[in-house]
């Protein structure tokens, strides 16, 4: 036990003296939390729309101004032929074409129906598809309001419209920040945990000080703990800074209990630190450790369910998600921060992450060789 205290004292002193490290630890979460949520945005804006209006009627103009008035679209061209608009799509100046046929107004009034054509540029699929669905919605609403008008003027002929109303539970305004901020916080904790400890051990290998340790009677488990604990503390500090920032800047206050949230972070940090330590026992240089870490963390983040939903991933990716610590932290953050889940609800998550932590750390201790 006393040996461990000496190891910890040494480690904390070194971290404290490594000024660049201290700056990274404090600066990185602040920078990322302030800037990234502004840019990493699910909402799609500035969709370039080319309108081909063959009707030139009051109705067609009304429809176009409703669309532009929604704020999501930017008028790229107006009143060109369909062919010319297609050219715009080819040169990537437009994402969508809306073609209003000739006699649009007349047909709507007389026959009560008409069609508009929406052509989508599938190169930037997400943007165009979401744009198309926005457009559909706007046209549908416009259609609705038109019908209401016509119906009231016609009397008698009552058209019953069934309207679908969505309500998003736990995130009522569909505010992407409530998704992204906890997500970025989760990634931060993962990266800090994964990298710092791993690079630290490999650095000792590079400098050669680890050999001086290996020739002492210090126990392997103490040495690993001596590396694990300081970075575990740092992980907690970073997480706390992040939590305070997301409250101050974005007004995000966890709906659930803070202690529950922290209890998950405690085991989660042990797991990601364990992974970093394990990688470091296999690496000789900081470069190797860095790249192997990148390899795992990249996969973990992209398949972790922050950017894309795990439910819509192929089967093999879902299997990876089960052994991916990031998918658990994203899930738990959403449960606790947005939904207010309690300790009982996240117990399975804690169980799995604790198992991972135990496995990775004992593997790291086993694989750390004082004798080659």
């Amino acid at each position: 036990m006393r040996t461990l205290l000496f190891l910890l004292q040494k480690e904390f002193k070194q971290i404290y003296r490594y000024k660049a490290m201290v700056r990274i630890i404090i600066g990185m979460p602040i920078m990322q939390l302030l800037l990234l949520p502004l840019a990493a945005d699910y909402e799609i804006k500035n969709i370039n729309l080319a309108v081909v209006d063959n009707d030139h009627s009051t109705y067609s103009q009304q429809l176009v101004s409703t669309i532009i008035g929604s704020g999501y679209f930017r008028l790229a061209e107006y009143n060109q032929s369909y062919k010319k608009s297609l050219k715009l799509i080819e040169s990537d100046k437009a994402d969508l074409i809306l073609e209003i046929p000739e006699g649009f107004e007349r047909n709507l009034v007389r026959e009560n129906k008409d069609q508009v054509l929406v052509a989508v540029n599938a190169i930037n699929g997400t943007k165009a598809n979401i744009g198309a669905s926005y457009l559909n919605n706007i046209i549908k609403n416009y259609n609705q309001s038109l019908r209401m008008k016509l119906v009231t003027s016609n009397q008698g002929n009552q058209a019953i419209a069934i309207d679908l109303v969505n309500s998003n539970w736990y995130n009522p305004e569909m505010d992407y920040k409530s998704f992204m901020v906890p997500g970025i916080l989760a990634l931060l904790v993962t990266i800090i945990g994964g990298f710092l400890a791993a690079l630290n051990i490999v650095r000792e290998k590079e400098i050669g000080t680890i050999e001086q340790i290996n020739v002492t009677p210090v126990r392997k488990s103490y040495f690993i703990l001596g590396k694990l604990i300081p970075f575990w503390v740092i992980g907690n500090v970073v997480f706390t800074i992040g939590l305070v920032l997301s409250w101050l800047v974005y007004g995000i206050v966890p709906a659930g209990n803070l202690l529950v949230l922290y209890s998950f972070i405690w085991v989660y940090l042990l797991a990601v630190l364990g992974l970093g330590l394990l990688i470091s026992t296999y690496c000789e240089t900081q470069q190797q450790a860095m790249f192997i870490n990148f390899f795992f963390i990249m996969i973990f983040i992209l398949l972790g369910g922050l950017f894309t939903s795990i439910d819509s991933m192929p089967g093999w990716a879902k299997i990876i998600a089960r052994i991916n610590p990031v998918s658990y932290i994203i899930d738990v953050f959403r449960m606790i921060i947005l939904k207010g889940s309690g300790f009982k609800d996240i117990l399975p998550h804690i169980g799995i992450i604790s198992f991972m932590a135990l496995l990775l750390n004992s593997w790291a201790i086993k694989n750390y060789r004082k004798t080659s």
């Binding site: 000080t209 002492t216 009677p217």
Partner: protein
């Protein structure tokens, strides 16, 4: 009666097809300064690492301080000190912090650490530097400090792997004063070096060529045997036969 603190018999280390240390057999007596000479790549460091419990032998027998290197490598470690080619104290800790850390790792009591620190700093006249980072000290002082830290826990044997590399002649002399002092206190010194003048300071020398021990005796006896005026000549004569390129 001579007490033998290192005994090896047919000690061998292979890395794949390459035999780094080839069947070496020798003994080192208590309190002796034992020089371990050889060209670069002759296998000195590998042999030393096996004796320190840092590297597992491929075959052969070896005991250090009466402890078997195979089964009880960890137990050896509390009985020895080690100073590697690379300077391996923590440069971002101060002199006193390094002493305290290694003292703690070797399980010295707090009061022992305190008295040892004072003694050591006084002995090396490091009082003004005691609270400075080790990284800021000149090379010669670093080496003396590293040696003093390596014998902090009063080990039975201390292994020194080219401890005076890159150190000026004056600092080397002072370093050897420390070695003699330690030997006088009953610590066995096992040292590798490339400096033939240092070889002359040793009680006995072994010269390794291509992983084997080609000669082992006192400096005087070796010079006589090879009819050489100094150790330089002895070394040339033996090392010239080496097949192994660096």
């Amino acid at each position: 009666m001579k007490e033998e603190v290192i005994i090896t018999e047919g000690l061998t280390k292979k890395f794949g097809n390459f035999t780094a240390v080839d069947n070496i057999t020798f003994t080192v007596n208590k309190g002796e300064i034992f020089g371990f000479l050889g060209a670069n790549g002759a296998g000195k460091t590998t042999a030393m690492r096996m004796l320190c419990g840092l590297s597992k032998p491929t075959s052969g027998k070896a005991t250090v301080a009466g402890i078997d290197v195979y089964s009880q490598a960890e137990k050896i470690k509390s009985n020895i000190g080690y100073m590697s080619q690379k300077f391996s104290l923590y440069e971002d800790l101060t002199v006193l912090e390094n002493i305290k850390f290694f003292g703690g790792i070797y399980k010295l009591s707090d009061s022992r650490i305190k008295t040892k620190s004072e003694e050591l700093v006084h002995r090396l006249s490091l009082e003004p530097q005691a609270n400075k980072l080790v990284g800021s000290l000149p090379q010669g002082w670093k080496q003396k400090l590293a040696f003093s830290v390596a014998i902090l826990h009063e080990p039975k044997i201390v292994f020194l792997d080219e401890p005076t590399g890159g150190v000026d002649p004056l600092a080397r002399r002072q370093f050897w004063d420390l070695i003699y002092e330690a030997a006088g206190n009953g610590i066995t010194i096992f040292i590798t070096t490339h400096y033939m003048d240092e070889a002359e300071y040793c009680n006995r020398l072994s010269i390794m060529v291509d992983g084997r021990i080609e000669a082992l005796d006192s400096p005087g006896a070796l010079k006589q045997k090879y009819e050489a005026a100094n150790m330089d000549e002895v070394f040339y004569r033996l090392a010239r036969g080496a097949k192994r390129a660096e």
